[in-house]
Symmetry: C2
Subunit: 397 residues, 2 copies
């Protein structure tokens, strides 16, 4: 089928584009290259060297014989969005193209406003393009498990049956997001739900957990196809960052007690979940929500696993418990459902020693590229401003 991958140059978007292309689908990448710009702004870069979008696509053509088209432009530019939708007429649009770092959105007012404007208006433009140009096109939108927060009840997939004063209804699951970034995903969810109800378009909202890993079978086929590996305080996510810290002899930075529990998944499952959503579209007018993760972990539990895996490789890793810069519950109940994608056929890659070995080895291979200055976190939730470097630790999405 014909698929358009918005944000197809990013950490999840690039391996998704390759996976879908390898599976025989016709893939168009749409990207503003904004993620590369944020690296420049923050003085950070991927641990793994990554090629330009054009070079990556050319390498994929050489390696696979498959063509991926690229369109460089911004979703805030309606003329651009309408034009690519008109020319390519995709059957499904996969939408990764948002600012996805919680710490970035909490740097200051400008970054909060940028994130909300960029994500909410960009998605509105995508909705209008589908409505006006390709009304049967399936919008596959990346949300986040962080939309739900940590309620004291089981988290369902998007909707919950509520009985109240003797009456019942199936209603959107209440949301308690934890950053200006996470809030944008909640805003998007409400906007998309409305567009499906009102216009009869169809969408799958994938509330994704924290992704770890960086390699997929397609990415592994050539060094020029390498995926990003973020380990910095703003865009690095927790498990990948721990592996880099272990390899360079930096204590693993756990904030608070490390009891915070989150849903997580391997990037090889991310790409497969997108495909499952695409080849099993919802009915016209349907808005459906899947929780896209495979296992729940506590932050401290992850740190312990990385320490153990490091030990087997002869690396003596340690853990530092730091004050938590985020406003979140220290101890909380967490039990989130995630059966919809399993029902569609997902076969999870559970977190294993071999995956940790692989991540530690990638970190070791590129350790000369690590900039220790960008590991110590700089953003505090309470002040909404960049802190002095070396203060406390935060962790990516």
């Amino acid at each position: 089928m014909k698929l358009m991958i918005l944000g197809g140059d990013g950490y999840c978007g690039w391996p998704t584009a390759l996976h879908l292309s390898d599976a025989g689908h016709d893939v168009v990448i749409v990207d503003s290259l904004a993620r590369r710009g944020w690296d420049i702004e923050l003085g950070t870069s991927s641990l793994t060297p990554i090629q330009s979008l054009n070079s990556r696509i050319e390498a994929w053509r050489e390696v696979s014989g498959q063509e991926i088209e690229a369109e460089v432009g911004d979703l805030l530019d309606w003329g651009f969005v309408a034009d690519v939708m008109q020319r390519h007429r995709p059957e499904a649009v996969v939408h990764f193209a948002e600012q996805r770092s919680a710490p970035y959105s909490m740097i200051d007012r400008e970054h909060a406003v940028f994130t909300q404007h960029n994500n909410v208006i960009g998605t509105l433009n995508v909705l209008f393009a589908i409505h006006e140009i390709m009304p049967e096109c399936h919008l596959i939108k990346l949300g986040t498990m962080g939309e739900y927060g940590t309620p004291n009840i089981d988290i369902e997939e998007g909707f919950i049956e509520i009985e109240h004063n003797g009456r019942r209804d199936r209603l959107p699951f209440p949301k308690q997001p934890g950053s200006f970034y996470h809030l944008t995903k909640v805003h998007d969810s409400h906007n998309i739900d409305f567009a499906c109800r009102t216009w009869g378009i169809r969408s799958t909202d994938l509330n994704q957990g924290i992704v770890y890993g960086t390699v997929t079978p397609q990415v592994a086929r050539d060094p020029r196809l390498a995926n990003r590996f973020d380990y910095d305080d703003v865009f690095g996510t927790v498990l990948n960052r721990f592996c880099v810290q272990a390899v360079i002899g930096h204590p693993l930075t756990v904030y608070g007690t490390g009891s915070q529990t989150r849903g997580m998944l391997d990037i090889r499952d991310t790409v497969r979940c997108i495909e499952l959503a695409a080849v099993n579209p919802p009915a016209i007018g349907e808005y459906r929500v899947f929780n896209q993760f495979t296992e729940q972990f506590g932050v401290r539990q992850l740190a312990d696993m990385v320490v153990a895996a490091s030990g087997k490789l002869g690396i003596d890793a340690s853990i530092d418990y730091l004050p938590n810069p985020r406003t979140e519950a220290k101890e909380h109940y967490y039990n989130a459902k995630h059966t919809a994608l399993l029902d569609l056929g997902l076969e999870p890659h559970y977190l294993s020693d071999s995956l940790l070995d692989s991540l530690l080895n990638i970190a070791a291979e590129h350790r000369v590229r690590v900039d220790e200055q960008v590991i110590a976190p700089r953003v505090d939730w309470r002040y909404g401003a960049m802190m002095e470097r070396d203060a406390v630790a935060v962790g990516g999405e």
Copy 2:
């Protein structure tokens, strides 16, 4: 106390500013005058002649001896927002300053994007100004009962206690808003709740019903203090519009079966609710939600009441049932709680024959100013575009 009224030149903002000034508070109006610009854009105007903001304020000074200050500027302009907050240092900010018409937000993509950008980012700027400049300032924010939609369970005030699989939590009430405008109020609610949780600021979110009437004791003191009276398809709300239709001999335009039920209130109660919220502030860090309406009515029921009241004045009014341009349930359960403001001392003005007489008389007094061209509605929810005039009827908020 010192109060800043954002949107203090508008339909609810102006009588609120006068009421609070009359009650001895120190009032600053902040307004971009955007509402007057939308009249120009749409070719509409208030049924009642209204003075410029400066003339109104000058008239109030003459009549009452009270000074109201005015600051003209846009909440999207951070420099302006920070400057007025710095110079005035209000104890409470009352925030009416949003694009508040559902049909306006549904005209087309540009109007949807404008509404979401204007409302969400403007409110973000207000939140940051409070956080950075006046952290103890109480934000009194106008939401809407339309945030809830029409669930098949009782609507609580902002939060609901949910029992699920043997566990319990008090969570935000699920939201199912019915237009791109109503969605902005949902987005605002989530942003404000987060700011209170994360920064410890305090806010009252007033989910207001549909307001009717135009006169308060202060407004009535001089013709130069007259409040707006909107009757057009885009900004006119249902009861006020019915009264104008009756007076000019236009059938009352009810869409669908008229069974849609909504919470409503008299504008004299709007101004009193704001004062009650201001003089009874929440604790530091608290986000509280009040449902601000006094009675529930069906649309057909309102039309019947206007027909009956017209008959007593010798006006032979009739009703036209038109296709509903909005996407909403024809028949639905509706029972919304509204006890918090009563508990604070609100004494409601229930809808009465004398109020209907007064509205019909105001409409009759100004009937020469009525432009029949702007009564027949032009916006259809399904197409997201202006329809041919004379198609079907919508009703304000």
